[in-house]
Amino acid sequence: MKRLIIVRLAWTFAILLGVSFIAFILMRALPGDFVLAAAGTTSVSAEALDGMRAELGLDRPVLEQYLVWLGNALQGDFGASFVTHAPVLQELAPRFFVTLQLSLVAIVMALLIGGVTGLASARLRGRVDWLVRAINGVSLAVPNFVIATLIVLLAGLYFPQLVVFGYTPFAVDPLKSFGNLLLPGLALGLAVSVTISENTRAAVLEVSNQDFVMVARAKGLKRSTVLFQYLLRNAATPIITVAGLQVATLLGGSILVETIFAIPGMGQYLFDSITRRDYPVIQAIVLVAAGVVVLINMLVDIAYIRADARVRL
């Protein structure tokens, strides 16, 4: 097991290296660079543009630029944003926190919606089951950017006083901060809720038929006690695994939702940074995003292998 984890960690490092290299080469292979993007249509002479490029080190060969970046990155220095001149990590940290906060709200929303609908459809069966499945079908079929667009437009039109767009920093007002994220979290979490709902339903059904629940019920324990103490505790594991797996999906989906809701998270930052060709920031975000995905994959794989090993025994 230990060896496996070490091997996996080595692979993780190799994967991140590969991702960073591809991202680096890809971005610089694209026509247009930071100084051009920043200048836009304001007239800037070619000499001034070249001077700015030299200042940023963009005039050197791409491979050399990559090696310099890699050397610094290995020492924990990810460079400074071209836009703000501040260290990339210092710029990224608050946005990562915002995206994490948004993902958390989305997951909680998804757990609430998915848990309730899944439980209802498993316990009540019949019509409720069909209704839940219909709702799930729709939730899954409406892309998050469509929901987000509709929410923004409808809220702006009909509830202008109720809905406040934008983001309140957590440090300023924690409650308001989370309040601001409710609608975006809903847009983002709805699709995830379906997976959770289906898994809850399956898990509850499976657990209900197992001996210890039957025994507990036979012992005369109250229905609700059985449900919550035995049932949920046993069904929770697969649900949490699934929710964990969805984190990667959430990170990907956050680009559109954050842009539409004006939430200054990592997704929006990536979008902006690509448009502005802020290379150091792009590199850092790609690394963080890939890191999260790889890490989760690794954990899931290890969990599977362990589960498999248990089965074999």
């Binding site: 026509p31 247009g32 100084v35 051009l36 993007a37 249509t41 007239s43 448009t275 502005r276």
Partner: protein, 526 residues
């Protein structure tokens, strides 16, 4: 001129709102928004916060080195220059109290005394010299260096007198000085303005959280008596236009500007308490043409393209009528095109276009290949599709390629696009900055492959012509020459910024220069 019709629109918006709120019927007394602010409700109230919705983060706040248009929203409130624009786009003194011009190439400015920078440092002629030294230093990589290429020498005569010596007469000089941030003064001996700006303007930089908000507070020592009225100005960022619109409606922001005139017009209609000010037309939508190689080197093909273009229809469909037919210079510039006068090859004539094509050797029409447009700009993409249809009717076929902004700019600057490319120009301080985009001797004109000695000579003459009437005449000739040869195909002109604000915001004036200088006279009436 078209200015009248623009102020008519403003007037209508204001008078409608007053009719509803105050029962006033006549709008004639509200010809300018300024008279409204002070004439009607008495003296301005002090204090409060103005929240402005912004759609882009600044990229650097040092006026000498910044290049991004998005930075100018912020520098406009932090810095000030020797001169500034009035609401009618006339030049008036600002940090200077007066100036005189002993001869055609010498300007002597008397500076305001007792002005302090935000860091407490005294403002004097040394700072003016320092600013221009920095601009002229090649190591600064300042975009302004080419704007002030005519400035030969800046001399400090005494602490409050500074003399500019130009190498030749220059009509653009004062206009650049009046424009924020092209002509603003930075303090001597202060580094790191990119992140921590220090100016003499009405507001002091407080804090900036990228993507969230940008906060400014009133400059207590500002030299205009009693100004600014507001305590705080906060910019909040909404990248998405639809969200920005919703934020304005929900009063999460008090004021903003929108890109799409049709949306702005629609939003303004939703509430009688919203004030809408389209401003003067300041932006044109051009189709840049590769004149270096290919079929478009033949002037007949270009003329056919122009004849096949129904500009008025584009104005109606894409802008919902909130714009005018365009030529090289928008009407807010000296000698800008009014959108009505006759220009060569501006009439729609599909048969004539076909005939020209046949004459050029393309009787069965011609395939011009890719037409590149800015993918992020919905107006541009919509207009391109309309143009594609109009051209197709005359047998000219193009494929639209909506491109990300950075590569598009690279193609445009270096002239590496196939045949056609559209990118709208932002407001420039002087017509010359626009004309340099096609001047054969400039890097941009050369990249497009324009060869025309007469045009080059006329552009140089126009910049050197100080008399406005004579300059306007020259600009008219230049625009005719461009239209006649179709060096660039101009479609329409429109206000870049359609500003909107709630009517409790008083004393504000939109500027054709697209900077919010008049936040300094703004106050909250609630």
């Amino acid at each position: 001129m078209g200015k009248a019709s623009d102020s008519e629109t403003t007037m209508l918006a204001i008078s409608r709102r007053n009719m509803l709120r105050l029962g006033l019927v006549s709008g004639a007394m509200f010809m300018s928004a300024g008279s409204l602010a002070f004439g009607q409700d008495g003296s301005p109230k002090r204090g409060g916060t103005l929240t402005i919705g912004a759609d882009a983060d600044p990229i650097g706040l040092d006026p000498v080195t910044l290049t991004a248009y998005s930075s100018m929203d912020f520098t406009a409130l932090i810095y000030s220059g020797l001169l500034r624009w009035t609401p009618d786009m006339e030049i008036e003194p600002d940090l200077a109290v007066s100036y005189e011009q002993p001869d055609a190439t010498t300007y002597v400015f008397r500076l305001r005394e007792g002005v302090k920078f935000h860091n407490g440092q005294d403002f004097s002629a040394d700072d003016v010299k320092h600013t221009f030294d920095r601009i002229m230093d090649p190591a600064s990589n300042s975009r302004l260096r080419s704007y002030y290429a005519n400035v030969a020498e800046v001399t400090v005569v005494d602490p409050y007198t500074v003399e500019f010596k130009l190498s030749s007469p220059d009509a653009a000089f004062l206009r650049f000085l009046a424009t924020n941030p092209d002509g603003v003064i930075v303090p001597k001996g202060v580094e790191g303005l990119t992140e921590k700006p220090v100016g003499t303007g009405p507001f002091v930089f407080e804090s900036y959280q990228p993507g969230q908000q940008f906060t400014l507070s009133a400059n207590k020592g500002y030299y205009e008596e009693g100004q600014p009225y507001l305590d705080t100005v906060v910019f909040k960022f909404y990248r998405d236009q639809a969200t920005l619109t919703s934020a304005l409606r929900s009063k999460a922001v008090d004021m903003t500007w929108l890109k799409d005139p049709r949306v702005a017009a629609q939003v303004a209609k939703t509430s009688p308490d919203l004030v809408s000010a389209p401003g003067q037309t300041s932006r044109t939508f051009p189709v840049w043409i590769n004149l270096k190689e290919g079929p478009l080197t033949d002037v007949r093909v270009r003329r056919a393209l122009s004849l096949a273009t129904n500009r008025e229809l584009c104005v109606q469909v894409v802008l919902g009528g909130s714009g005018k037919v365009g030529a090289m210079l928008p009407e807010s510039h000296v000698g800008g095109y009014d959108g009505k006068s006759e220009l060569p090859y501006y009439g729609v004539d599909v048969e004539g276009a076909r005939a020209l094509l046949a004459e050029a050797g393309y009787p069965d029409g011609i395939d011009l290949g890719e037409y590149i447009v800015v993918a992020a700009n919905a107006l541009d993409v919509a207009c391109a599709q309309l143009l594609q249809q109009q051209w197709a009717a005359a047998g000219i076929r193009v494929q639209i390629n909506p491109m990300e902004t950075a590569p598009l700019l690279a193609h445009w600057n270096e002239g590496t696009f196939g045949t056609l490319l559209s990118v709208a120009l932002s407001w420039s301080a002087d017509a010359d900055a626009i004309l340099q985009r096609i001047a054969p001797s400039s890097q941009f004109g050369a990249a497009l492959g324009i060869k025309d000695d007469e045009l080059d000579k006329m552009i140089d003459m126009a910049r050197a012509e100080i008399d406005p009437a004579a300059r306007a005449e020259l600009h008219d000739k230049i625009q005719r020459l461009i239209a006649d040869n179709v060096y660039v195909l101009q479609v329409y002109q429109y206000p870049l910024r359609w500003e909107l604000w709630w009517n409790y915001v008083d004393g504000y004036e939109p500027l054709a220069a697209n900077i919010r200088s008049y936040v300094r006279t703004t106050w909250r009436n609630d």
